[in-house]
Symmetry: C2
């Protein structure tokens, strides 16, 4: 496929880890390659910054990238988020392909066309809706992924089951992410669910927001944990966010208490010992800045039942604080 | 229309000139307004920078702009280019309307969906293809525009005639831009030509490039003039660029020498006394970085005849230098 695109030059975006552990193996898969350049950023969320974007724009310009250049984003969600925004804005858009190396990026970040950077402490405050030319899923990368990160990525797969496919949710309960590496089939079902939702609502005017289940609370917990000495991984924060939002679903969108409790219990079993001591008031404060709110009214994507979600549910602040105090 | 969009807040992007001279009059045209904020940047091309974009992203975040916010870009091409990029990337895109206040912006920058900023001395190196929700054309703004800028903007109207409509080109010869202010009809014909071309090729894979006639050479002359104490206005540089590219059209795309000479003479009559002493080698050097080149080969949009252009004509460097030496 890459050869068919006949790029003038290939630009790999990597971090120091994917540069060392993933790039050599990937290059061996390719037959012939045009000239290539490697852009390396530091691993971690801090690279999703305006400062790094400006440096990378300047690097592309200095390396004389033209409109026939191709970007290959090889890494986790930070790399695909950053690289998609970079490619989407340089020269008003050059083609790019995502090659996710983490489970989280495979089932979430690399598909669906969202990209972006953080700004002023707010996640994805700047970015684009823009699909890559392709996403290459290579489960082999998961073998070298630390177990904690693999389990974290599993949270988004669980979410796909909860919002859209009760049978997939059950199937995932039989999979032991602590012992086994997900194969292509089980990964693909997650990507399919995400793509189905996205296709019906690319710009997130309605349905797409259901993908946000667990994220309104989860993003806030993630941000707060980064101010402590025990930062949560994204999927861990989403797991906690889903536990809270399951209970909110009982209160605001008609989920049965029994289903909420059972699902929360299943999540807790997978994310053993995970906890987060956040002040409800601090969580609320961060959630007020969420992109999905309308005219200062909190709006969350919640569940009607296991396997079925509904976007834009108004949630009152007192009710939220009460559930947060109870669940965290 | 603005009321119909029901924005949560309106953000005006202005420079100090349009803030003082255009905003008060525009606000009087509106009946009811939601809350509004004013973002002011310094007048001039230097504001089309990564640094200013980052400041404006941060300002929008600090002012809690949400997805229902509306940006109104009130100014010349710098403001519409900068504001379109800002709105297109903040929160992955909020709606924006262009309200051009210069002739150049009315007939060129505000329509067609290109926006962007400069980087490392290269024009529009970063940006998006993205249409505004609407463009408001208010010829009244032209009355307070300095005459030199009005004449400069006329260059893009002349270009529209040359590339797509010989009758419009003739009509423009009968219009004295030094004495009269263009009315809505003559402006609208320019916008129509541009929109027709753009509709057929939004992402500039082919036909759209004909809008670039006069710009490959013109942009280089504009950049070089900014290193001197006599900087050219954009339209002035394009006028000179068109004179050079008319002669290149004789050499590379079959325009008759007679038509080229007559058109160049007409342009010189309008841009009286305009000149630019640039070294052909320096012009060539800048043109090598042009976005339209393919695999290091110079490609220009040139004329087959008056009213008809052809994109992507390969031009050899020796031939270019020869014509530059002769025409400048």
């Amino acid at each position: 496929m890459i050869n068919r695109m006949d790029p003038s030059k290939i630009f790999f975006l990597v971090d120091e880890n994917t540069h060392e552990h993933c790039l050599p193996g990937f290059l061996q898969l390719l037959e012939e390659l045009p000239e290539l350049e490697i852009l390396e950023v530091e691993a971690g969320e801090d690279s999703k910054s305006a400062e790094v974007v400006v440096q990378l724009w300047e690097a592309l310009a200095a390396l004389e990238a033209d409109r026939q250049a191709l970007m290959l984003n090889l890494g986790g969600g930070v790399i695909t988020d950053l690289g998609g925004f970079l490619a989407g804005t340089y020269l008003r858009g050059i083609p790019f392909i995502n090659i996710p190396t983490s489970l989280l990026a495979m089932v979430d970040a690399s598909a669906g066309g969202k990209n972006g950077i953080n700004l002023a402490g707010m996640k994805n405050r700047v970015g684009l809706f823009l699909e890559p030319e392709a996403v290459f899923i290579l489960p082999g990368f998961l073998e070298s992924l630390p177990q904690r990160e693999r389990v974290s990525g599993f949270a988004e797969m669980l979410k796909h089951g909860l919002i859209a496919d009760a049978a997939y949710w059950e199937e995932l309960q039989d999979f032991d992410i602590h012992k086994a590496i997900p194969d292509e089939a089980i990964i693909r079902r997650s990507v399919e669910i995400k793509q189905q939702v996205v296709q019906e609502d690319f710009r997130e005017s309605g349905l797409r927001k259901i993908l946000n289940f667990g994220h309104s609370v989860g993003h806030a917990l993630e941000s707060l944990s980064h101010q402590t000495d025990r930062p949560l991984l994204h999927g861990e924060a989403i797991a906690l966010g889903m536990i809270v939002e399951l209970q909110l679903s009982v209160k605001y969108s008609g989920l049965s208490q029994r289903d909420a409790d059972a699902a929360a219990e299943d999540i807790r079993k997978i994310f053993r010992g995970l906890e987060c001591k956040a002040e409800p008031a601090a969580v609320l404060h961060l959630m007020r800045g969420d992109k999905k709110n309308v005219q200062q009214q909190l709006r969350l994507s919640l569940l009607k039942e296991i396997g079925s979600a509904v976007p834009d549910v108004p949630v009152d602040e007192d009710g939220l604080v009460e559930v947060l105090a109870q669940m965290l």
